[in-house]
């Protein structure tokens, strides 16, 4: 029998005689929660993971984590509204992490250093799959299918891959050398890319179905919605997306003295800025939505990347929010102005509110030109039977449609997407789904993981630190060719990485190891099974919860024992 020393002195190691684990009624467990940035990203990028890798000093490995989800990070860093930053828990302390600038840094470093995708190009033991449309959704699907070892044929009616990234996004937002570098790197993965190949014209759906096990349709939405005001349309009407595409290819844009652009999306704002820079004195955007602001309801604001809106205001674009066009004022067939009216929200059927004209709030706007940019629908080209009379495809979250079990659909053609990032996410999920169907595996689960709230973090361990600010071309320096927003340098990126809370994942801060009063936290040299560097010794853990409380990241939680 062990004998107690006089005064209950303990010799080294003797405290191990007290198995305090028997006192416990709660036990700490490691839980890798979704970080809000990760859960919010439609493309499925795990920003927390690649920021952590950057923090360890491995930018290339960080980029490899990034491209496990998104093959075009330099592109999305420039064009995405950055749902990650809107979700970032850091906003509750000071400002969100500039995740898009970290993504951009990694994307640009990869281009600069010619980093290769972590994909085995020689692996082609899968079944042939055809991807229709080389926009973001199609490119993403082709990439992920290649990653999984399937031979891929990618067809597009245009001479170059990129879809609307190339045809509709101004180079001031997305320089073409960046797009070319990323798309070029992607196509080199052994993808059989067939440009100038139009479904319905050069090849039929049946033909493709015959030659391939699965088909991924990502035709986008390129046909402008029909637009008129009470049936009236100026004779010289041009649609917004058409004008933008024409300007990108030809470099020419109409230059009236004044213009009103009707719509609240990126096309409307991009076009407004292009026309303003081309010399149009008065550029108005008329939108039924509200404007972004501190009190704005997120569901009610312009569907535009917020900083694009800010830059547009800086450049002198006049926004008319919560308004619609009630009447066109014509002299003969020529437009001389239009009558706007405020919209008010009324509760409508099924709980959805509808906007109606607010009588008595009519105002007249004298403009020489009106351009509708109210959105686009799918142009049926060779898949009329699958689409029917609908404007968009109806698909489940992983892209399966009712018409065929060998055709999956993604991107803008779904009608419920609307961002490049969402299209990239669609391509990935569809590729995973096709792979699962081909190999008898489990279909991907598109459900969003639960993410960790701000109040589950212990932010006492973080100092307030201002968000890094990206360089921006001054108003007078902005033109039609130079990128407006710049990237961060390495020092700024390092600063930004240091601001990350590491929400829901171990930061390896040693708090649990240092503070455990029972030495029940053991630090491991190699990573433990759960990916952290710590394991609990439940023989001694008395369940005090100190580790959970002092975990900055919410990685440790107490559960009933």
């Amino acid at each position: 029998m062990k004998q107690l020393s006089r005064g209950a002195f303990a010799l080294p190691g003797t405290s191990l005689d007290f198995k305090t684990g028997t006192w416990r009624n709660e036990m700490p467990v490691h839980t890798h929660w979704g970080a809000p940035c990760h859960v919010a990203c439609p493309a499925g990028e795990d920003a927390q993971a690649y920021i952590a890798k950057m923090m360890e000093g491995h930018p290339k490995q960080a980029w490899e984590i990034l491209v496990q989800a998104n093959p075009l990070p330099a592109t999305t860093a420039r064009v995405c509204p950055h749902f990650c930053e809107q979700a970032c828990n850091r906003k509750h302390m000071d400002q969100p992490i500039a995740i898009h600038l970290i993504e951009r840094y990694l994307g640009d470093e990869a281009i600069k250093n010619n980093w290769a995708y972590p994909v085995d190009v020689s692996k082609e033991d899968g079944e042939p799959v055809c991807v229709v449309g080389a926009g973001p959704a199609g490119l993403s699907a082709a990439y992920h299918l290649r990653r999984l070892g399937h031979p891929v044929t990618l067809i597009d009616s245009l001479p170059e891959a990129g879809g609307l990234l190339r045809t509709a996004i101004p180079v001031t937002r997305l320089p073409r050398n960046v797009l070319d570098a990323e798309v070029g790197r992607l196509l080199k993965l052994g993808i059989d890319f067939k440009p100038r190949t139009s479904l319905g014209r050069d090849v039929s759906l049946e033909q493709l179905m015959g030659e391939h096990a699965y088909l991924f349709l990502a035709p986008g939405a390129a046909k402008s919605r029909h637009w008129s005001v009470d049936g009236a349309v100026p004779s010289d009407l041009r649609e917004g997306l058409g004008l933008l595409k024409e300007w990108l290819v030809v470099g020419d844009i109409p230059k009236p003295k004044s213009v009103a652009i009707h719509g609240g999306g990126n096309t409307a704002v991009d076009l407004a800025r292009v026309m303003k820079r081309a010399g149009v004195a008065d550029v108005h955007v008329i939108t039924a939505s509200g404007l972004p602001g501190p009190d704005a309801d997120p569901k009610d604001v312009l569907n535009v990347v917020p900083r694009e809106f800010e830059q547009a205001v800086e450049e002198g674009i006049v926004f008319h929010a919560h308004r619609t066009i009630q009447r066109l004022l014509m002299r003969g067939s020529k437009l001389v102005g239009l009558e706007m009216v405020h919209l008010k929200k009324l509760p409508g059927a099924g709980g959805r509110s509808s906007r109606v004209a607010f009588e008595g709030t009519e105002t007249v706007l004298h403009v020489e030109m009106v351009v509708p940019a109210i959105g686009e629908v799918v142009e049926p080209q060779g898949f009329e039977n699958l689409l029917g009379h609908a404007d968009y495809f109806k698909a489940d979250p992983i892209g399966q449609i009712a018409g065929s079990d060998r055709v999956l659909v993604g991107g803008d053609a779904r009608g419920d997407r609307g961002t490049v990032t969402a299209a990239i996410g669609d391509g990935r999920l569809a590729a995973l789904a096709i792979h699962a169907k081909l190999t008898g595996g489990e279909l991907p689960d598109p459900k969003r993981r639960p993410f960790i709230d701000y109040d589950k973090l212990n932010v006492n361990y973080f100092e307030p630190a201002a968000r890094a600010v990206e360089p921006m071309l001054a108003l007078e320096q902005r033109n039609d060719s130079d990128e407006i927003e710049g990237g961060l340098n390495f020092a700024q990126v390092t600063h930004e990485i240091g601001r990350c809370f590491s929400c829901g994942n171990c930061l390896a801060c040693d708090n649990c190891w240092t503070l455990c009063p029972d030495n029940a936290v053991i630090k491991t040299v190699e990573r433990a099974a759960d990916g952290s560097h710590y394991v609990f010794d439940y023989e001694y853990c008395k369940g005090c919860g100190l580790c959970a409380h002092e975990c900055p990241c919410g990685y440790i939680g107490m559960v009933s024992d």
Binding site: L4, S5, R6, G7, F9, A10, F18, T20
Partner: protein, 390 residues
């Protein structure tokens, strides 16, 4: 050599003779003069020791806890609220079996605040596991302080030397101050077996679960019980060197034939001794001076009470809602006797109220009126209170 010294100064010199390595204390009336004098001895280079000025009694006790654990002979002193503030650490020191000496300049406890003498402070920490020795005069205070270091280091228990505040600490008395050779021959250098040593690491104050805690407490109880003969031999051995004994566990004075006994602790015993000589119209009593309150010398007490019909326990503190503390313990100890005396129990002289020579006579009269299980405060004047509070 005889000196006329203030009690505090005498105690300070006695402490210095014991060559402490560390002294840490925080001033509090009526203890202040003791540590003030020690600090002067250190400042004058007459005592080589680490004198640690601290910001509270809690820190003072913590410092000496630490220094004792390193094997350094350690000393502190306090009083009243200071003892209460130390309370947590006092229990730790005893539980860890760390030898050291503390002088408690006994003082009443607040509220109401009162800086004068009674025993409520030491009584309140009687369960801390410290040895408590009470001194009847300043000569005893000197001798008991020196003995306390030997008792403490031999038993590995801390010793509290209780001296009445003001009555002893602030009065001049002719005392015989031993010389360094006498003390050095009596008190060997302190060697502590369980001291903290980086070469042989060990942990103090570790957690002990239900499976061993009972044994840890039992061992403390046994250690105090075993200290009884050590207290007696320490006194006897010191008497061989300097010719004076301080009274071992307890002493008995007065005629052996007396049927009435009076038991008390501290300086009041000196008053009672004098009063016993001049007791007008009454038989002299058997006077008992209890020196060791912890450990409680139950067997010695029973022997001292043999043949008594009545024992009056006079004390300087009480437990509100219960009665006497010392009286209750004496009753419990005597309950095992074949013919125990009837025990009367009085508190007297609380918060510095004077105890004149006439107290003994008054006490004997009051004892006749008190029942066997009773407790009264001898000098209380209830008419000073509103009727509803009497």
């Amino acid at each position: 050599m005889l000196h006329a010294l203030e009690g505090s100064q005498a105690i300070a010199q006695a402490v210095a003779l014991c060559r402490p390595a560390v002294v840490a204390a925080y001033p509090i009336t009526p203890q202040t003069h003791i540590v003030e004098n020690i600090s002067k001895l250190v400042a004058d280079g007459k005592l080589k020791c680490e004198f640690v000025s601290v910001e509270s009694e809690f820190s003072a006790a913590s410092v000496v806890l630490g220094s004792a654990a390193t094997g350094a002979r350690s000393y502190t002193a306090s009083s009243s609220q200071g003892i209460l503030l130390m309370a947590e650490v006092l229990f730790d020191i005893a539980g860890m079996r760390l030898p050291m000496v503390l002088t408690c300049a006994n003082r009443a406890i607040s509220a109401p605040i009162n800086i004068w003498n009674d025993h409520q402070d030491a009584m309140t920490v009687r369960d801390s596991g410290w040895i408590q020795l009470y001194c009847a005069d300043n000569q005893e205070a000197i001798d008991t302080t020196i003995q306390a270091f030997r008792i403490s280091e031999r038993t590995e228990l801390p010793v509290m030397v209780c001296v009445d505040g003001f009555v002893l600490t602030h009065t001049l008395e002719v005392v015989d101050m031993p010389n360094a050779e006498q003390v050095d021959s009596y008190l060997p250098p302190f060697t502590f077996k369980n001291k903290l040593d980086p070469k042989h690491p060990l942990s103090l104050g570790t957690l002990v679960g239900p499976e061993y805690y009972t044994e840890a407490r039992y061992s403390l109880h046994r250690a105090l019980e075993k200290a009884l003969p050590e207290i007696e031999s320490a006194d006897a051995d010191w008497a061989k060197i300097c010719g004076r004994a301080s009274g071992g566990l307890l002493t008995v004075d007065g005629p052996e034939s007396a049927s009435v006994g009076v038991l008390a602790m501290g300086s009041v015993v000196s008053t009672l001794t004098e009063a016993n000589e001049i007791l007008p119209g009454k038989k002299r009593v058997r006077l008992m001076k209890l020196r060791a309150f912890r450990p409680f010398p139950a067997e010695a007490l029973r022997q001292a009470c043999a043949g008594l019909k009545e024992l009056i326990v006079l004390e300087r503190a009480f437990s509100p809602g219960c009665g006497g503390i010392l009286g209750t313990e004496v009753r419990a100890a005597l309950a095992g006797m074949a013919k125990p005396p009837a025990v009367r129990n009085f508190a007297v002289g609380l918060g510095g109220r004077d105890i004149p020579l006439g107290t003994l006579s008054k006490l004997l009269d009051a004892a006749k009126a008190q029942g066997n299980e009773g407790f009264s405060i001898l000098d209380v004047e209830p008419e000073r209170l509103p009727p509803e509070d009497r």
